[in-house]
């Protein structure tokens, strides 16, 4: 509207009215007054609006609309391509359920975009085309077919399609692997219950599943409402205190994926993630057998020192390390913490450095978690303790 504004201001100067501004003729036309209660006759209003050179503005509109559309489309493309693949992307499905949801999303998005563009095109045509060429847009036939029949046909097709997707996803299977996940501020307690003679065990912040076998994840919460979501494997499901919800899916290809909490649960909600590892069945059974075993005894003096520090510092009052005195149920089970890919609920790669940093600066790294910072260890002791935890494979 820059050109129109300049023209409006020029007319203000020519008319000798200091208060005249771009918006005044338009506002005055609606209000019927110029300013300070002065009458604003329609003829003056029409003259002033005409002087604003609105036609030049309209002539310029298509060019500016094209430029703005191109900028918006480029931005949207870059933004959407960033999420098209990866360990945490609903656009890269790794299971049948996620694939069905993905295609529903694609059809809805592409279809909606095409219809939007088509209708926008018609709108622009209705505005800019000569009257004799755009007359058909207001005909009864156009309204009945385009405005009534077309949406009815589209919605009548989408409704059963959406319902069929709902029916065919998240279906419980009789031979599914049961896994229990409990959301806590701000981490995930994961339990594998007894199954076919295989013992139960617990782990944390890591979900391991076999490829090709259905999985039923039963979720609940120990404190506030969380939401369990692995984008590559399907929809999200709420974790509600006192209630057990279930999510069913099957991993179709091995890989490492990432799940997140999808419901705001407190200050560190954004740092509440977990790894999901899909293994071939044989590898999964080996992992399961290893996880069910108690922790190995340290095989080096400094690791033995680390285990002693773990006991002296009272770590075992909150953490379980099966095979030791540590039997606290408050925090994550650390029996095989060294075998996990990440620590801090998916925040850092798991190694002796990050483990030591976590122990010494927990409240600095993730303020608000229930574990206090243990900054009083000497460097040597901290290395021994972190080394011991890393050795718990």
């Amino acid at each position: 509207m820059g050109k129109g504004r300049a023209a409006g201001q020029e007319s203000c100067q020519c008319g000798g009215e200091a208060e005249f501004a771009f918006w005044r003729p338009v506002a005055g036309c609606f209000a019927g007054t110029k300013s300070h209660g002065q009458a604003y006759p329609f003829s003056a209003c029409k003259t002033h609006v005409g002087q604003m050179d609105l036609e030049a503005t309209w002539r310029d509109a298509p060019r500016r609309l094209r430029a703005a559309t191109a900028r918006a489309a480029a931005f949207a493309c870059v933004l959407s391509l960033m999420g098209c693949s990866g360990v945490q992307s609903a656009l890269d499905p790794a299971g049948g359920d996620a694939r069905q949801i993905y295609w529903l999303t694609v059809i809805m998005t592409v279809g909606g975009t095409l219809i939007f563009l088509f209708v926008t095109g018609l709108l622009l045509y209705a505005i800019f085309a000569p009257p004799e060429r755009r007359a058909w847009l207001g005909s009864r036939r156009t309204i009945v077919y385009g405005g009534l029949a077309f949406p009815i046909v589209i919605l009548s097709a989408l409704l059963p399609y959406g319902l069929i997707v709902m029916r065919d996803t998240d279906v419980p299977m009789p031979d599914a692997l049961p896994i229990e996940v409990i959301g806590e501020q701000y981490w995930w307690r994961v339990k594998y219950p007894v199954e076919g003679g295989k013992p139960e065990f617990a782990t944390a912040n890591e979900l391991v599943v076999p490829v090709g076998r259905p999985v039923t994840v039963s979720v609940t919460s120990a404190d506030v409402i969380h939401s369990f979501w692995i984008p590559n494997f399907g929809g999200k499901i709420d974790m509600i205190p006192g209630r057990i919800n279930r999510l069913n899916f099957t991993a179709e290809r091995p890989g490492i994926y990432r799940g997140v909490c999808a419901e705001f649960c407190g200050d560190q909600h954004a740092r509440m993630a977990f790894d999901m590892v899909a293994l071939e069945p044989a590898a999964f059974e080996a992992w399961r057998a290893a996880q069910a075993k108690p922790a190995q005894d340290p095989d080096a003096p400094h690791l033995a020192r680390g285990r002693e520090l773990f006991r002296i510092a009272g770590c075992g009052s909150c953490h379980v390390v099966r095979g030791t005195e540590g039997n606290g149920a408050f925090g994550p089970d650390l029996t095989h913490v060294g075998s996990r890919r990440t620590i801090g609920a998916g925040q850092f790669p798991n190694n002796i450095g990050t483990l030591a940093g976590w122990i010494a600066n927990t409240q600095h790294i993730k303020p608000g978690v229930r574990m206090p910072s243990y900054g009083s260890f000497t460097g040597e002791d901290l290395r021994a303790l972190a080394g011991y935890l890393e050795s718990l494979k």
């Binding site: 059963p160 319902l163 029916r167």
Partner: protein, 107 residues
Amino acid sequence: MLAGLVAWAVQFTVIYGATSTLCGRGWVGATMLGVGNVQAIILAATLAALAVTALALAWSLRLYGQAGDRAAPADRFMSQTGALINGFSLLVILWHGIPAFILPACA
């Protein structure tokens, strides 16, 4: 003119009420002529609502046809609106009945 909307409202109330009550009380599973009780109730309510609305639509179209081009504008508008409302009601009643035959009764 409003018969279709009333039929839709009644169907809506019956199917939601019946589904909530039967599912909430665990009374699902009984069958009527081989169809689950929830589905049977939804089917009956949908067919009844469709029948009423179809009659109302036919009546509206008849009035519209009778009105002709020489009718008063108000009469033409009312008959057109009646036909439109009843037509939409027919469609929406159908849409409301469809999920019962695709999804499990208490999903």
